[in-house]
Amino acid sequence: MLWIALFLPELPLQLAERSAPQAATPLVIAAGPSQRPLVCCANAAARERGVATGMAVGAARALAGELNVLQRDPTAETQALHNLACWAGQFTPNVALEAEGLSLEVGATLRLHGGLLSLLSRLRKELSQLGYQVAVGVAPTPLAAWLLARARREGLPVRMCQLLDQLPERLAPLPLHLLNWPDEVLQTFYTLGIHRIGQCLSLPRDGFLRRFGSERQRELDRALGVLPDPREWFTAPESFRSHLEFGFELTNTDMLLFPLKRLLRELEGFLRSRGAGVQNLQLQLDHMSRQKSFLSIGTAMPERSAERLLALARERLGRTTLSAPVLGLGINAERVVSYDENNQSFLPDARSRAIGWTQLIDKLVARLGSDKLYKLRAVDDHRPEQAWQRCAATVDHIPPTPTLNAPLPLWLLPTPRALSSRAGAPLCRGPLALLAGPQRIEAGWWDGQGACRDYYVARNPHGETLWIYREHRREAPWYLHGIFA
């Protein structure tokens, strides 16, 4: 067993600062009774001006002058931890939620991720890309990992510990207050001159039990791995949703991309942990007074890469005009589908080519809309206007129709254009000379859109070669139907 503790200090503050690059204005998170809210965390700018945790918000305002105060939102914190646990599922199936972060048991998956060091560096990098600051502790027991993580947060020199035998030695120099014991218990220890965990461990066991109760002793035993310390594993939900509040108004779609990228990275981790991808992703934009607008992004094949989803979202947002300023952004993946991981191929093959094609089509559709892109399907009908159909650009096989021997023009006019005539001879930018024909088409009497036409190839004085027809009845007008381009 090897545990990694991910300690997210001052989570409310991190959540507030996550949606936007760090602001230089003082910011505090307020909690407690609404009559007298207290500062529960303050950012660096606020601390510089003397704001400390635990002081009244009114006092903080007086100290800092200009001060942003945000109300603490415990449900948002829980949701954020949940989403982070979903994301962490890509590293190990054994993730446990803690009050201030996550515990990951990575003993079984260490080899998959190329060893502890590469896993840790990946965790640190990707967490900072998500916008979180973490303190990491590594130990054979979860409690010890947390002690190390807290010690690292306080700037104490700690090393990670992989072996159970080394644990008492590594924990010994840590200060006692990291254990989060009640103040009066700690005070008792301090009066005894005991400040470090090591001193605590060397106390006689029966005396310790009598004086401080079995609860404290069990906690120490669990930290040292003497007693088991089972955790309840987090179960990832079927769908994923994540949300960010900005705390200010965004009026430009470009500014949404930065927070969106963080959300998409979370989604990618979640999808990786499930071995899944999404085909449809919904963006939720929050406006004033609880109004929301939604945008949906679809892909032809299941997708999970945050980079590619972001590229699609960028095009989709590019052709959207914001109806109102945006205060929050959310993503919502209701349905996840199975995703086949594509191997990096050494020699390009048909499969990698097909993937490139669908990614191109997705990108174009995201900007232009799906109706602007199409392929054509030929239909076995002699009437030109009935002989084609549009189909989606992702169709990769179109059955061929029997070949026609008659000359056919490359361009077809959407509707035949009536031509004027002089003494029965057709005119189109000058008198038309007939080159070939007639090609008689007599079809459609069965479906009420009958056509009895004689088609000719004709050329006008400008050298344009045209496809014209007239119905075979007396005095019938001439029509232009195609162009031999």
Partner: protein, 245 residues
């Protein structure tokens, strides 16, 4: 040190293939030209075909002079290589059966309807992706957005994706500068397609060329005009009888 030199010696041997280069070459075959399918045109063009990975401007004012038939053998060849071809902002509807009977697989033809900057963006994306071997763009739909800068971008994208990029424009822009290494003016001349090479890279045999893009028997036939009256009678009569009239 001596070993490294010996290794360099071996690697310099043209018979030694490096796997990395092999993969790259497979991915984007760096053939510099693609045959046009017209032997006289192949002979006339500097490198024996259309320059691949470059912008090619075709200036024509009228449609129906064989300006698209000129590209058909090229598009056929591109499709036969397994790459797709894209038609961007076609002025009319491509008649599916005609394209099919001329040997172009319809599942390899992508049509994009768009205009101005969106159109140019799409062209650039398609070219860059390298998925399409040829992109044919009708510049009229792009309007004023198709300026020198946009052409430069297209040229760059074509070379990135190693694709052919044909752009049809009006002859009015003949005098304006263009980054395209090949500019051809097209017009009809007595049922044949007349090509004027306005700009080219390298040595050219002729400044102009005549191509047959239509079947040779398509000549004005007064006989047909005289038949019109009899053909349009309300009752259907076999052609044989009408000829004897």
């Amino acid at each position: 040190m001596a070993d490294a030199q010996a290794l360099q010696e071996v690697l310099r041997n043209p018979a030694v293939w490096r796997a990395r280069e092999l993969a790259q070459e497979q991915e984007q075959r760096t053939d510099r030209t693609l045959g046009t399918g017209f032997s006289s045109l192949d002979l006339a063009l500097p490198d024996g075909g259309w320059p691949v990975g470059a912008l090619i401007e075709l200036l024509a004012d009228t449609s129906g002079v064989g300006e698209l038939s000129l590209l058909l053998p090229t598009l056929r060849q591109v499709c036969a290589q397994g790459r797709a071809a894209a038609l961007l902002a076609p002025p009319w509807l491509p008649y599916a059966r005609a394209w099919e009977s001329l040997g172009l697989p319809l599942d390899k033809l992508l049509m994009v309807e768009s205009s101005s900057s969106d159109l140019l963006w799409s062209a650039e994306q398609i070219l860059r992706s390298g998925e399409c071997g040829a992109v044919v763009l009708w510049g009229q739909a792009a309007g004023r957005a198709l300026d020198h800068r946009a052409l430069q971008r297209l040229h760059l994208a074509a070379s990135t994706g190693n694709a052919l990029c044909f752009v049809y424009r009006a002859t009015a822009v003949e005098a304006s500068p263009s980054p395209a290494p090949l500019r051809v003016k097209l017009r009809a001349q007595e049922g044949r397609l007349h090509l004027d090479f306005l700009k080219f890279r390298g040595a050219l045999r002729n400044k102009s060329l005549l191509l047959d893009t239509y079947p040779a028997h398509w000549q004005p036939q007064p006989r047909l005009a005289s038949q019109l009256e009899t053909l349009s009678t309300p009752t259907y009569r076999p052609l044989r009888r009408s000829r004897s009239v």
